[in-house]
């Protein structure tokens, strides 16, 4: 057993209202620079929808993540090592800019400089890349709130089979929910494994997956390998960039920017202890639907004395172990098992998990004339309503509807029990029959309810600061401003004195028309 700690995230999707605050604050913090205009380390998708970049979940097309070879061994879906090196010259599975979108700016100057005339001056969109007027035809949240869904959403790779036809044909009665996405900081990261330069790595201390900007040589294999398409090429520097999990904030004991600014308070941050020796074995689990349990099996109980002993031995400090015991992520993922990973079938063992949304099912119950508050109605709906359930299963459990259904029933039972307890008007429900049916007792129900409904800032974000012993290394990071150069990421270049510009990557491009 080799115990490592990882800072992980859970999102409660029922609470996401799709306000995009996380995306905007992330953008302002990390990707408001030349070269990554099109990159969104965090974005919010509407589901059903084809996502960003387009149809990124279609791994037949993009070849992201892992698969098993004939002998049951893990291999990258984009092929073995030799094939990867042979595709260095032209990577056949790299999304083009059109699969993201062409970044634009607006002709704001025209608002002030237009000559006096009868018409109100307007700010026309211009391509950031060419400086020319352009039509905006796609964006990172183009499908927001099912916008354009009759035209596009049928292309959602999660929609397949008969029930999918039904979704398409009855779109007026369909469901939607929002799915905020960021880098999963996987236990078995395909991007790291695909990097020919060895520039990508997973930090042993906190599990954050980073790109060493000094060692990246722009081979762009990570973009293909990441099944979530959360590694981006900076087209100005020619290097890969990705979500950093806001490591400077995490090291200081603060939540990530997306979590900090989440209006719906739906994000949870906390430590998970895991056994690094069992990662490969878990990722190679033969049946895709067993991957969820296999990954849960890699996580270690922070209250187990054996785990604590080994963790201390391997240098995990005491306050980190204490934080691991208070981790809301551990509770949601392993203790109450209401959080699920996004697309476990990619075999990367992702570390950003989701509490699946109950709202699609409740909407359907309401539409069918049922009582959303009656667990019997909801339970019946969960077992009968194939459409949302199959869809959620294809997102979170590799198609296993029993697991998703079980989580939804648990959430339903919890709701009705806590409603009865709080209002005190339905004694027969407060006896907890439904609750026991989903495997919760009164104390657990109250604890889970507190975590899901009323948890405060310090309960949602249990982030232990990096350690004093590391102070020297941290100072080196803090002395550099994240946006001091147009091209680089914070802490990514040599120290300021040694930086030499060859006029290559730090372009602040000015187009002939003067728009940049």
């Amino acid at each position: 057993m080799r115990v490592l700690a990882q800072i992980a995230m859970v999102m409660n999707l029922d609470k996401c209202i799709g306000c995009h605050t996380c995306s905007v604050t992330c953008k302002q913090t990390w990707t408001n620079r030349t070269g990554v205009e099109y990159a969104w380390f965090n974005n919010v998708e509407t589901k059903p929808g084809i996502g960003f970049p387009r149809r990124y979940e279609d791994q037949e097309r993009w070849r992201g993540g892992w698969t098993l070879d004939r002998r049951g061994r893990l291999m990258l879906r984009s092929g073995g090592r030799v094939r990867r090196l042979l595709s260095l010259f032209s990577n056949p599975h790299l999304p083009a800019l059109e699969d993201y979108y062409e970044p634009v700016t607006y002709d704001y100057d025209n608002l002030l400089s237009a000559p006096a005339g009868p018409d109100l001056p307007v700010a026309r969109p211009r391509s950031v890349l060419t400086g020319r007027p352009t039509a905006i035809t796609w964006g990172a949240n183009w499908e927001d709130g099912l916008g354009g869904a009759p035209e596009h959403a049928g292309g959602d790779p999660n929609l397949s089979g008969e029930w999918a036809e039904k979704v398409r044909f009855e779109f007026e009665q369909t469901f939607l929910f929002h799915l905020p996405r960021l880098c999963e900081h996987c236990l078995n990261p395909a991007c790291v494994s695909a990097c020919p330069s060895g520039a990508m790595y997973k930090r042993a201390e906190d599990g954050i997956v980073l790109v060493d900007q000094d060692r990246c040589r722009g081979w762009r294999m990570c973009v293909t390998a990441c099944p979530y398409k959360k590694v981006y090429v900076n087209h100005a520097t020619g290097k890969a960039e990705k979500c950093t999990f806001c490591f400077p904030r995490i090291e200081a004991g603060q939540p990530t920017v997306c979590s900090e600014t989440c209006v719906g308070r739906l994000r949870y941050l906390g430590l998970l202890l895991y056994d690094a020796d069992r990662v490969g074995e878990a990722a190679a689990t033969p049946d895709e639907q067993d991957l969820l349990d296999a990954q849960r099996g890699v996580f270690l109980d922070p209250r187990d004395p054996d785990v604590i002993a080994v963790a201390r031995e391997s240098g995990i400090p005491g306050d980190w172990l204490e934080a691991a015991r208070r981790s809301p992520v551990y509770d949601l993922v392993a203790r109450y098992r209401v959080a699920l990973p996004l697309h476990p079938e990619y075999r990367t063992l992702p570390m950003v998990w989701y509490v699946p949304p109950l709202s699609p099912v409740l909407d359907a119950v309401g539409a069918a004339g049922g009582d959303q508050d009656d667990p019997d109605h909801v339970f019946a709906a969960v077992t009968r309503l194939r459409i949302p359930l199959e869809y959620l299963a294809s997102l979170f459990t590799a198609g296993d509807t029993d697991v998703v259904g079980g989580v939804l029933m648990k959430l339903t039972a919890l709701r009705s029990y806590m409603r009865a307890v709080s209002l005190g008007d339905a004694a027969d429900e407060a006896d907890g029959t439904a609750l026991r049916a989903v495997g919760l007792d009164d104390a657990e129900a109250r604890d889970l309810h507190r975590l899901l409904a009323v948890a405060k800032y310090t309960d949602r974000y249990v982030v232990p600061a990096a350690h004093k012993e590391d102070a020297a290394a941290l100072t080196a990071v803090e002395s550099g401003c994240p946006v001091e150069s147009a091209g680089g990421l914070s802490g990514a270049g040599p120290s300021a004195g040694g930086r030499v510009s060859l006029g290559m990557p730090t372009l602040r491009r000015t187009s002939p028309e003067g728009h940049a």
């Binding site: 400086g131 790291v192 494994s193 590391d470 060859l502 290559m504 372009l507």
Partner: protein, 253 residues
């Protein structure tokens, strides 16, 4: 270096000859070496292939593999043609006729692939506005210089060895080339070579001088180590107190 059967007399080549065939090559080599050391130490962040596949992929799909694979063959051909004395190839039983035929045929194929690929890469750089605007100063030196060198080389071969009567550069240009590295320069060996060969050699010298300051540095980062390294890379933020860490994060240095 052994001059083989060369009958060239160690005649005086004059000041211009010394400048062009001794001073310039050594200066370019010096810039090549010192430039790489300097760039590697000072500009890891700029050391990249500068991929533009994101912005344009249709021309690149064919142009880039053609260019790169063609280039590998061309480099191999130059190593054989320049570094290996004719006496060595004769010693292993490759006579002049066989060598000439192989060089012309393989060289033509490699050269054609390289020219076609480079042409496509240049075309996309010129015709795709996104890429043209993203082209930086080093590219504006590199692409013309590389194209010039390649075209001069192809032209010299075509004019003298494919269409012409055949010119044995191994008795002249190669002797000069090896002399540079043997530290006994033989400027007189190349001084009387046909003009195209001399221009090709000079532009190649300039290309080597420009090399460390362009995206060509990515050649030295060819990731062959990837074939043997473990898939999963862990790194510590700081060297572990107990065991010294193998790869301290450079990003924090």
């Amino acid at each position: 270096m052994n001059t083989g059967t060369s009958s060239l007399a160690p005649a005086s080549v004059g000041g211009a000859g010394l400048l062009l065939w001794v001073a310039v090559p050594y200066a370019c080599l010096a810039v090549f070496v010192a430039g790489h050391v300097w760039r590697y130490r000072q500009d890891q962040f700029g050391w990249t292939s500068r991929t533009s596949q994101l912005l344009e992929h249709r021309w690149l799909r064919w142009g880039s593999p053609l260019f790169h694979l063609g280039t590998f063959m061309v480099i191999a051909g130059h190593v054989v043609g320049l570094a290996v004395p004719a006496s060595w190839t004769r010693a292993v039983g490759v006579d002049e006729h066989l060598y000439h035929a192989a060089a012309v045929w393989a060289g033509s194929a490699a050269g054609a692939a390289m020219v076609a690929g480079l042409g496509m890469l240049c075309a996309r750089r010129l015709l795709t506005r996104r890429i043209r605007l993203g082209t930086d100063r080093s590219d504006k030196v590199l692409f013309p210089l590389l194209s010039l060198t390649v075209l001069l080389g192809i032209w010299a071969t075509a004019a003298h060895n494919v269409l012409g009567g055949g010119y044995d550069y191994r008795e002249t240009v190669s002797v000069w080339f090896r002399g540079l590295f043997a530290l006994s320069p033989r400027p007189e060996a190349i001084a009387d070579a046909p003009l195209l060969f001399r221009l090709h050699a000079l532009s190649a010298c300039l290309l080597f001088a420009a090399w460390p300051f362009t995206r060509l540095v990515h050649v030295w980062s060819a990731p062959v180590g990837y074939l043997v390294r473990p898939y999963l890379v862990y790194r510590r933020r700081t060297p572990a107190p107990a065991a010294p860490c193998r790869t301290r994060s450079r990003s924090r240095s």
